[in-house]
Symmetry: C2
Subunit: 396 residues, 2 copies
């Protein structure tokens, strides 16, 4: 204290100086339009200059927030959308709307911790669906879990299923349409967790049949934290976005169309405007998802030439987020290295690559999203170069 | 669509081109250090470059987030503090921790709608304490309200009192120490709503005896939305910041020290860093609060020279936020003016003053926080000039 952003040591320049493979950061890097929006709309309640009746964030027309919300809904092919302060606040709004204390929701062994916390906050519990040997959730596993809960709880079946299309641990792409179908057959509403899909790959809510879609602005939509989206079908909108019933017992005041589970307005400043500024670019970039997958697959092919190295999970791998298993390669070197597991981090750092977990050499996650072909080739070459330096064999 | 922040029409320049009197915006205008932090830390999860075990936002040391949290706690003279995505999320965390369905919390006829919504989300109800003829909450009114609830509900007395030190409707400074004392006498925990105090005037939690302090980053701490602070005494910290008890039934996973009512990490990007960058300036500016009040009182003295014009509420007025009553002055003009109530907005706009509610001439709020003496004099002169133009009399 005081922390001084003008001090050159306090300026964040990782995206300028390095290729950053941090698994949660790649698709949250801002567009330059978003950065301009941050400067222009940085001040506190900057969105509220022209907030007129009925006084709600999504009704503001200048800047065109209402139009953006509609654009988001159309793009996701859902009926109603709200921007939330993070995907987790989307989980929470749905959990607090649908779950009562003692209820059971269904997640998976790959569920993010925020899904657990959102369910916990509602006083409910989360039952995990298991995965197969490739860490993929099979539709029949979900059916079995729902059956199991029904056997134990009688008619009090799960009130909500929350599953990720792409999980945060392996970057596996799960058979989400089939999973949603199973959930529908049991009449359980389905929350599609798109933290690693919305903003990077095409997502069509109606085609999927999702009741709710949650996405993350800072994880996958080139927006600053904390931002996220919560989209619903019209069937659910009035429940999730219910307006307040509160009335002052003395004043007689009521509070119009403020939405209880959102606590009224949500992201009324710079991060929302940055998300809006990135949106046209985000819409374009999802169309190039196949190319991103090709780059990831190219990297994997090169990386797996290193003796004892492989990726975990699905084959072929279908996402830019991946978990590398180097137990039989870099970890063996780490055991004899004076820097132990940190050697890999430092070797990468010396070559201007960062974002892997410091000290990790058994397995660690990386994300290649948005890197150019040249950068992907460079990253692959660097891993191979380090392998060769430590006498690991490369296959052809 | 697409909204283009590069388009000159979409750049927000109200703070450059105008004196902005918007009641919720004045103390949320960024410092230049905050604006630099936004640029530097704009990308998604920018705070998480060096997130190491135990993996929680407030434990990060580079940038010095942990140190900032401790600095905030010390400055408020409270034991534990967390940054939240808005003051409302602070209300919500406390409400969900302390209130069960059917419980009663106590607010006032001046409570902000977000207090109602946070209580509603917990399934509880909010009873309003009334105000005196100057719209000030009297300590005995609070005692009476608690007694009344105890009579109706028996031993099931209110579980929480939430009152604002300075309310959003009149900018009155309520006798908060006495109100907290009453609450304590009844053994009811007290949430001090400092949305209009924390960041502009000195706040000493221990001296006040508050159990919880909530403040707003975007309203009063020169930070972007959505930001806020939630501070507690050590007595309450373990309840409000309780860590998750969830455990995966199949995976056996548990989730370390993630805090349930916060949903884990809160503001993990640019707005937090902007708040940190402003903090040293904010700490200094609260020491100059008396000067801000003097400017407000100077304005009031000048403004009330306009025949039929006055401020509502406390005298002397002790805050920069105020509600002007112009029923007997500008509203009379509005009734005969071809632009009706909009005439005043346009007259001010023509003189580069903005931020009053368009169309309002009976009463409307303004905030003078942070204006220079020259700007305050100019604003007062403009109101008088418009009065004279429409043949209102000025007293000496």
């Amino acid at each position: 204290m005081p922390w001084d952003v003008c001090d050159v040591n306090d300026i964040r320049r990782v995206e300028e100086d390095y290729i950053n493979l941090n698994p949660i950061q790649r698709a949250g890097v801002l567009t330059s339009a978003a950065r301009k929006a941050l400067i222009s709309y940085g001040d506190g309640y900057s969105t509220c200059d022209l907030c007129l009746k009925p006084f709600r964030l999504d009704k503001i027309t200048k800047p065109p927030i209402g139009e953006f919300y509609q654009g988001l809904a159309d793009w996701l092919n859902m009926d109603v959308v709200r921007v939330m302060p993070g995907a987790r606040r989307g989980f929470q709004a749905v959990a607090l709307s649908l779950l009562k204390p003692g209820d059971i929701a269904v997640g998976s062994v790959l569920s993010h911790y925020t899904v657990f916390l959102a369910v916990e906050e509602a006083g409910a519990s989360l039952a995990e669906v298991n995965v197969d040997e490739n860490y993929v959730i099979k539709p029949e596993f979900l059916a079995n879990k729902i059956e199991e809960i029904r056997r134990v709880k009688g008619r009090d079946q799960p009130k909500l299923v929350i599953l990720s299309h792409v999980d945060y641990l392996f970057g596996n792409v799960h058979p989400i349409e089939e999973l949603i179908k199973v959930s529908k057959e049991y009449g359980v509403p389905f929350l599609y967790n798109g933290a690693y899909t919305v903003g990077v790959m095409p997502v069509d809510g109606k085609k999927l049949g999702a009741d709710f879609i949650v996405g993350s602005g800072h994880k996958s939509m080139a927006a600053p934290a904390p931002t996220g989206v919560l989209a619903t079908s019209s069937e659910w909108a009035s429940k999730i976005f219910s307006t307040t019933n509160m009335k002052g017992d003395v004043s007689g005041r009521s509070f119009g169309i403020k939405e209880t589970h959102l606590l009224g307005c949500t992201v009324m400043g710079a991060p929302l405007l940055a998300m809006m500024a990135s949106f046209p670019y985000v819409k374009e970039r999802v169309k190039r998802w196949d190319e991103e997958v090709r780059k990831a697959q190219f990297f994997i092919k090169e990386f797996e030439k290193i003796e004892g190295s492989r990726i975990l999970g699905q084959r072929p791998h279908l996402h830019t987020l991946m978990k590398l298993d180097t137990t039989a390669s870099f970890d063996k070197i780490a055991q004899a290295h004076k820097k132990k597991g940190y050697f890999l981090y430092h070797e990468l750092d010396a070559r201007k690559i960062t974002g892997i977990f410091p000290g990790a050499t058994r397995n660690f996650k990386i994300n290649l999203y948005g890197l150019t072909w040249d950068q992907v080739r460079y990253v692959a070459d660097v891993f191979k170069e380090i392998a060769v330096k430590y006498n690991l064999t490369l296959s052809e």
